[in-house]
Symmetry: C2
Subunit: 184 residues, 2 copies
DNA sequence: GTCTATATCCGGATAGAC
DNA sequence: GTCTATCCGGATATAGAC
């Protein structure tokens, strides 16, 4: 992994651990082992780094979507859950949840990129919820869009609340979402 | 409203608009019309102000809980929703959602107070969900605790996502939560 | 209770040498 | 591509006058 990629990876972790406005180039410099001025060579502005972090997430999710596009809605749902389980295991929050709270303080480019990423995630979930209902694999009230908002909301907020001592509920929420979708 | 209360009110709004680490004593000083040094007279440390903001929320919620304690579970559910609708109308996020993202950067006293407030909210929702199921007003899968986590998660994250262009879903999510709870 | 003045620190950002 | 050195602005916080 080259320096640029290292910086992105560390920034991503810091954003999801402490928040966008609480992480600094100095934090990164310590972990990468270069000076803050050198980080500016790769990313002139902090917002350039912010954009790059989100683009990395877009790339990763795009790869997952492509890889799972011919799998069953249930498989895609499980993959979706596994993304959040992984974040839970590192005791962080998801990127959207972290940046959404700071939205009004972000540069416009970062806001726009964040909206692109969020749309991608929503469209993916919406698609497999819709297919799943058409194929009778899933049952739920409301439109696929509304249901996707509800499920993504559950996972996003659950990560935030987990750090506030609602740890033990994480698994049961996922189980209940699946139960509601599949049994009825 | 005295100066101290004004400061708390403005800080609350700034936290839910920009995030804890993005608001400053200077922001408040402009709105109150006093200098930053004067704010330190009322709240020596920023964390003292943070604690006071949360305590204000605890007081407000306690009043609501008391006022609604003999009302029906459905009435209490509607009151619960109305809290988030009000926040939505001011285009902000809720206190817990805002502070949860920055949790690891908050002083211990602020973290502890935030946990107290979150517990109060959860216990309230949990109580009327439980009573509602016992009285056959509500039907749902899972424990009252799990369901309360799911519903609070929906609202908390919905406020965050609303600012990212999922505005039009706000009402339909609330409608769907009610539909799922009440019809089946 | 509010002010002026100031201390101190931290963070983003730039210039220019190597 | 990384360094040293530096600038600048912003933020918390304190001292002491009024």
């Amino acid at each position: 992994m080259n320096t640029r990629e290292q910086i992105i990876r560390i920034a991503d972790n810091l954003i999801r651990e402490k928040g966008y406005n609480a992480f600094s180039f100095y934090d990164i410099s310590k972990k990468v082992g270069i000076k803050t001025a050198s980080i500016h060579y790769h990313f002139p502005l902090k917002s350039d780094l912010g954009v790059a972090v989100i683009e990395q997430h877009i790339d990763n999710l795009s790869t997952i979507i492509e890889k799972y596009k011919s799998k069953s809605p249930t498989d895609r749902l499980d993959k979706f859950f596994s993304i959040y389980v992984a974040i839970k295991n590192e005791n962080k929050v998801c990127l959207v949840g972290s940046l959404a709270s700071d939205l009004n303080t972000l540069d416009e480019q970062v806001q726009i990129k964040l909206k692109t990423f969020t749309e991608l995630m929503f469209n993916w979930v919406c698609t497999f919820l819709d297919e799943g209902r058409n194929s009778k694999a899933f049952t739920y009230e409301g439109s696929p869009r509304t249901k996707s908002v509800m499920i993504i909301s559950n996972l996003l907020a659950l990560l935030q609340l987990s750090r506030l001592s609602y740890d033990q509920e994480f698994k049961s929420v996922i189980d209940t979402i699946k139960l509601e979708l599949i049994t009825k």
